[in-house]
Every structure is written in structure tokens, then in C-alpha cells.
């Protein structure tokens, strides 16, 4: 299928991109890798009047190391997340989750910023960013703004980004001592989107959990934190029984955006099982 017509511009600076977005108004849309957007254009699910291609903005492709954080440029591809030595060392959850996105060809074009801005409730990277307590860095006519990931995802395919704002990077804390991570994903078949994804970061000291961050994909209209499970894990012994008990606290009231024909009882069971598996896998990471 062929998209409806649109204009196209390829700015060379972030400032020019913001100016183009502002001039384009409600009809302007950012394109980076296009792995979600081109599909939507072809099916005419979206009909922008202007595409602002940010693929040539070198500043948005950089990974910058700060003392306690990593700032990952928005147009860093999933392939790069998988292979970048700094991401693998300091934000391994993002490397792990990138491995679950699409297939190799899609990962060569799909970007972290694109996935986060697209805000598909079943998207895997948004759940990982939420689990990491990542911050979303945006540039707009009023300058830079930093949005906590907990406030960024506001609904299915909806974010706190204003129409004239550009997501330029994702800032995540470097993983500290004692933390381990895992991403557990379940699909009904290889070509299906995520039915449920669980991003896990746990910290243990000795035989005890001291911290836990758990975020679920496709478990609501946005990625959500499994707060009850996190609270139950902190202070618990590192045993499979304790993990099972904590995971069983998932109450099963989640309302996935894409239900894919399965029952609420099935989803609730799946969420508990995958969460247990994800935490156990993180422990043996």
C-alpha cells in the first residue's frame, strides 16, 4: 500500500528540526528509522503532512557517558544497543531488550528514541526504560526539558511530548554493584507482537533482595511498574519460594491494549509466571 502524500525535510541540526516541527504544526511527524511509522503510513493509519527526518542529526546518535549515567542518543539503533560496549556494560537491560525487537533487519533501522516516542503499550524498550527509571530528554522551542519515564507514557501511543518537541535522548542510571537484569517476553507466535513482557532489575546483598524494579509491557495502556511485587521482594530472601510469593501478588486486573484474543485469567496467570521466571533468570544472569 502507498502512503498519502506528505512533504519531507531533513534538518542538519536539532534546532532546525524543532523549527521544522513547529512550522509543520499538528501535521508534522518525526521519522528516524521508520520501522513503526512507515508501516502506519502505508496503511494510512496516520496521515502527516510533513515528515521531519532526524536520521542525520549526529548529536542524536551519540552515547555519552556521565559519572553515574548513560545518555543514549534517540537515534541509536536497536542493533547498536545490542553491540555498544558502554550500553552492554552500564545499561545491559537495554541491550537485552533490543535483542527482542523485530528481527536483524528491523534492528538495523529501529531506534530507541523512536520506540519510546511511539509508545506502543506492547513495545519492549519502553518497559525497559520505565524499569530503569530512565529520563526522557526533549528539545523544544522553550529549550531542553527532562521528563521522568514514569510521567512520559500517558496512554496508548501517547506521550508527554508536545507536538513541537523532539525526543533527543534517554538518560539512564549506570547499573551499580549487585544489580542483575532480565527481560522475559512471551508471544503467541514468532510473528506476533508481545503478549506480555517483563523487564526486571534486582539487587541482592548476600541472601537478601535489597532493591527491585519490575515493569510490564502490554499490561495496560502504558508500560506499568509492578509496584506490589517490587515492595514484596525488597527484604525477602533470595529463594524461588519468595520470588513466587511476590510474583503472585500481581492482581490480574491489568488491561492490555492488545489482548490478542486471550482471556483475563490467562493473562493474569501469564503475568505471574513470567514475572517469576524473569526474576529467577535475573538472579542467574
Amino acid at each position: 500500500m502507498i502512503p498519502a502524500p506528505f512533504d519531507y525535510t531533513r534538518p542538519t541540526t536539532v534546532e532546525d528540526a524543532v523549527t521544522a516541527l513547529r512550522a509543520g504544526g499538528a501535521g508534522a511527524k518525526v521519522i528516524a528509522g521508520g520501522q513503526s511509522l512507515v508501516r502506519m503510513l502505508q496503511r494510512r493509519l496516520v496521515r502527516p503532512t510533513l515528515l521531519v527526518d532526524v536520521g542525520c542529526l549526529s548529536r542524536m546518535r551519540e552515547v555519552v557517558e556521565e559519572p553515574d549515567h548513560l545518555v543514549i542518543g534517540a537515534t541509536t539503533t536497536q542493533h547498536e544497543l545490542l553491540h555498544d560496549a558502554r550500553v552492554r556494560a552500564h545499561a545491559p537491560l537495554l541491550s537485552l531488550v533490543a535483542r527482542h525487537v523485530g528481527d536483524p533487519a528491523v534492528r538495523h533501522r529501529g531506534t530507541l528514541g523512536g520506540s519510546v516516542a511511539h509508545a506502543d503499550p506492547a513495545g519492549d524498550p519502553p518497559a525497559a526504560v520505565l524499569a530503569l527509571d530512565g529520563e526522557i530528554i526533549v528539545e523544544g522551542p522553550r529549550g531542553e526539558r527532562v521528563i521522568p519515564s514514569a510521567e512520559f507514557f500517558v496512554g496508548p501511543f501517547r506521550t508527554a511530548l508536545e507536538p513541537d518537541e523532539l525526543l533527543v535522548g534517554v538518560r539512564v542510571p549506570k547499573m551499580g554493584e549487585g544489580w542483575t537484569v532480565h527481560y522475559e517476553k512471551f508471544r503467541l507466535s514468532a510473528q506476533k507482537p508481545t503478549l506480555l513482557g517483563v523487564a526486571v532489575m534486582v539487587r541482592r546483598v548476600g541472601d537478601c533482595f535489597t532493591d527491585a524494579h519490575i515493569a510490564l509491557a502490554n499490561s495496560g495502556s502504558t508500560p506499568v511498574r509492578a509496584t506490589a511485587v517490587e515492595v514484596a521482594l525488597v527484604g525477602a530472601d533470595v529463594t524461588e519460594e519468595a520470588v513466587t510469593k511476590a510474583a503472585d501478588l500481581l492482581d490480574g486486573t491489568m488491561e492490555p491494549f492488545a489482548r490478542q484474543g486471550v482471556s483475563q485469567a490467562y493473562l493474569a496467570h501469564l503475568a505471574r509466571v513470567l514475572t517469576r521466571r524473569a526474576v529467577v533468570a535475573a538472579l542467574s544472569w
Partner: protein, 155 residues
């Protein structure tokens, strides 16, 4: 219409396309390089796989205007009937096709897969070739061809 210099298989082409034209449609309909196939046209089947700056991508999910300044390689650029690419030769030797429609995409993906080094086992080959579907299900032979090509590449 947007004037565009598209570099394909080492040659520069000056073309004019609408912004909405995908790389796949520009290759097939404007440059008449019909080796690259349109299967699902939504990034799921891999029949349209080409290399851009040496990386495999789905040309159906890429706009032609986004490829300016990049190097595109299609199946027409990797080998000829008389001098096939080693991966193509392996596909022939292993009879790794039936109808052949997915083959250009399989070959482009396999060349990249071998180069990326994701050929340590048959399972690894299956996973890293998973973006290329074959409705005839010649998968066993495709895996064998990629395995052979990888062994030849390492030798």
C-alpha cells in the same frame, strides 16, 4: 517530486521521486531493479532485504529520500549468473529454494548474517535468519546453505 541521487550497486542514479515512495518501490519501479521482491510490504517477510551501508534492512520500510548519501546494495550487485556470490552458489548447491520468490531477500540476509558472524550453530542461523520467511518452507536447505557459506567464509 524530490530530486535525489541514489547510489545503488556502485552506480549513481539521479532520479525524482515523491517523498512517500519507499526504497523498494524506487528500486523496482524507477530503477527497474526487480531482483528485490515485494512480499508483505510491511517489514515481516524479508523478501525486500537489501544492504544499506553494508547493513541488511527491509527496503519496504525505508523511504527512498532517506537513502541519499548512502550505499545501497541489491541482489543485482552481489553476483552474476556466471560468477555467483559464494552464498548464491551455496543456495544452488543445497537446492535452498522452491518457487524462488523469497530467494533474493534470503541471499541478501544470508550474506549479512555470515558477515555478522551469527552462524555458530544451526539454531543461531535460524534465529538470525528469522526475518526472512519462505512460504515453500525450504528452511532446512536454507540453513544448510548458510552453514556451508559460513564455513567457506571462515576458511
Amino acid at each position: 517530486m524530490i530530486p535525489l541521487v541514489l547510489r545503488v550497486n556502485g552506480r549513481e542514479h539521479r532520479i525524482e521521486v515523491e517523498a512517500r515512495v519507499t526504497l523498494l518501490d524506487a528500486l523496482r519501479d524507477v530503477l527497474h531493479l526487480t531482483g528485490t521482491k515485494k512480499g508483505c510490504d510491511r517489514g515481516e517477510c524479508g523478501a525486500c532485504t537489501v544492504h544499506v551501508d553494508g547493513e541488511r534492512i527491509n527496503s519496504c520500510l525505508a523511504l527512498a529520500v532517506m537513502q541519499e548519501g548512502r550505499e545501497v546494495t541489491t541482489v543485482e550487485g552481489v553476483g552474476t549468473v556466471g560468477a555467483p556470490h559464494p552464498v548464491q552458489a551455496a543456495f544452488v548447491a543445497r537446492d535452498a529454494l522452491q518457487c524462488g520468490y523469497c530467494t533474493p531477500g534470503q541471499v541478501m540476509s544470508a550474506i549479512a548474517c555470515v558477515r555478522e558472524g551469527h552462524t555458530g550453530s544451526d539454531d543461531e542461523i535460524r534465529e538470525w535468519m528469522s526475518g526472512n520467511l519462505c512460504r515453500c518452507a525450504a528452511y532446512e536447505q536454507i540453513v544448510a546453505a548458510v552453514r556451508d557459506a559460513a564455513e567457506a567464509h571462515r576458511a
